[in-house]
């Protein structure tokens, strides 16, 4: 088994009604629980706040950010285990983020 990171990008859920938000949440919980049940979850991961700081350059300048477009912003991550990248990509297809117009970036964790 190899490890992969899912980076969840975009997917605006803020404009939904309370009931819709609850349903979105339920779908995520079901999906992650399903993956965990099949032994694919190494770490469920976390959501990330939208804003933060960017520290950059020789001067180590600190500024507000990131200001990437909302549709590309990383909203959270999960660490999964899969046979190979193809399986990891396949497994990501159940993610509810697609219903909200977002996407999943699947990246292999580099190993020694």
């Amino acid at each position: 088994m190899s490890e992969f990171v899912y980076l969840y990008r975009g997917g605006e859920e803020r404009t939904s009604s309370p009931q819709e938000m609850q349903q979105i949440m339920q779908r995520w919980m079901d999906w992650l629980q399903g993956l965990a049940g099949q032994g694919h979850i190494k770490d469920k991961g976390n959501p990330l706040e939208r804003g933060g700081k960017i520290v950059r350059g020789q001067q180590k300048t600190v500024s507000d950010g990131p200001f990437a477009e909302a549709k590309d912003l990383v909203g959270g991550y999960t660490l999964v285990e899969a046979k190979d990248i193809d399986q990891a990509a396949e497994l990501s297809k159940g993610c509810p983020i697609f219903d909200a117009g977002g996407y999943v970036e699947v990246r292999p964790v580099m190993k020694m």
Partner: protein, 425 residues
């Protein structure tokens, strides 16, 4: 449909966001003032957004309601601190909110469970503002206290989102210009507005029970929300009047029949051919209990009589074994205290069950202002039903066709098409 009796104890997780939304908007509006209702809604939206993000990774916390309330409270504290020079908040609390010394204790006090309970009622009474139409009141209750989005309200009322949006915007403007939230501690004002609140909950429930939505789940949701709010009303010492109990009884006894009324395809079944095994026994018992409690006063409201009629139906093992004489009697009472052509129509149907179709037709002919039923499909449908029972198929067909022309939604249309079909067989 899921069991509407279930949420009586504890938290109903399937509807958690929806029911918490009203409580959160209510307490925040109390703090921010009714003119800042939009701000309160933003804070609530934000709390749900955070819950959605965190819970989707980590699952539900031990006490989801408390988590949401705490998140809303922290956001409120933030808003009050940052915006107190730019905005005016609730006038009656403003001094307490202005000083950093009293801000946090005041906030803590407002977020006590009993305070939130009062806020919810305050909001309910506020939405039933006398200068708003009943339609607007129900829309605001659904939007503000039940967390229905514009699209969801529109789907429930089978209206366009634009029309609902307009109604909500206007309604909120009316509330904002009234300056203050309704004061539920003033007994006289409370008693004066209570009938309007009961009426709004009754209409909300009816929209669920008889409403036009083709989606059976929508019907159940509306009924359930009306029952939830009625329960809050019942929990308040001044709100717990015989009329409120009768209203709650009526809701339980009708909701008990909801699973039999619409099938999985959303098709309407008349009371006469419902599968009674699907009626909800727990709700019937609860309705009966509430009806007993409601009999404590001297006041006899239409809610009492309607609940009593629903109770007779709920007791009967079959259509034939129903005490139709008693039901006719209740309709006579209803005609005395709240006469309307629709009540008269229902009475005529009961008369037909009791004394036969000929008597039913005579009762239909006797409805005084039946001109007002001209656009009501169930008037010609009732005639059609009785003609059919007398074996006069051609006449029955004509009436069902007239009814079909007045059908207001696909559910009614399908129902009447099936009745037309019966005239051919």
């Amino acid at each position: 449909m899921s069991d509407p009796a279930a949420p009586k104890s504890g938290v109903d997780l399937d509807r958690l966001f929806r029911s918490e939304s009203g409580r959160m908007v209510a307490v925040l509006t109390r703090l921010f003032g009714v003119h800042n209702l939009g701000l309160a809604e933003d804070v609530v939206q934000d709390a749900f957004y955070r819950a959605l993000q965190v819970w989707k990774f980590h699952g539900l916390p031990e006490n989801p309601s408390a988590w949401l309330m705490t998140t809303a409270k922290n956001r409120a504290l933030d808003v009050l601190r940052r915006q107190r020079t730019a905005r005016t908040f609730a006038p009656e609390l403003s001094r307490m909110l202005d000083s950093e010394w009293t801000l946090v204790p005041t906030l803590e006090e407002q977020f006590q469970p009993h305070a939130i309970q009062d806020d919810l009622l305050r909001m309910m009474f506020t939405c039933c503002h006398p200068s708003l139409s009943e339609e607007a009141q129900v829309t605001l209750v659904l939007h503000i206290l039940c967390g229905f989005s514009v699209a969801e309200v529109a789907a429930a009322f089978v209206a366009t989102p634009a029309a609902i949006e307009k109604r909500i915007t206007r309604g909120k403007k009316t509330l904002a210009t009234s300056q203050d939230l309704f004061d539920v501690t003033k007994d006289e004002a409370f008693d004066a507005r209570l009938p309007a609140v009961q009426r709004a909950l009754y209409l909300l429930f009816n929209e669920g029970y008889h409403g036009a939505s083709p989606d059976a789940a929508v019907h159940a949701e509306l009924c359930w929300e009306a029952m939830r709010l009625a329960r809050h009303l019942r929990e308040h010492p001044r709100g717990a009047t015989p009329a409120t109990h009768a209203l709650a009884a009526l809701m339980c006894l009708h909701a008990a029949r909801l699973p039999g009324r619409l099938d999985a395809a959303g098709d309407l079944h008349s009371l006469l051919d419902q599968d009674r095994a699907r009626w909800d026994g727990a709700l019937i018992r609860e309705g009966q209990r509430l009806l007993d409690v409601s009999a404590s006063g001297r006041e006899l409201t239409p809610y009492h009589v309607e609940a009593a009629i629903a109770w007779v139906h709920a007791q009967a093992p079959s259509v034939e074994e129903t005490d139709w004489g008693q039901i006719v009697g209740f309709y006579d009472t209803l005609m005395r205290i709240q006469p309307s052509p629709v009540v008269a129509l229902n009475r005529a149907i009961a008369v037909a069950q009791h004394q036969g179709p000929e008597a039913g037709l005579r009762a239909l002919d006797g409805i005084e202002d039946r001109g007002r039923l001209a656009r009501y499909p169930f008037y010609p449908a009732a005639r059609g039903e009785l003609e059919l029972r007398l074996g006069r198929c051609a006449a029955a067909r004509a009436h069902f066709q007239a009814a079909l022309a007045q059908a207001r939604n696909p559910t009614e249309r399908r129902f009447l098409e099936q009745r037309l079909q019966a005239c051919r067989d």
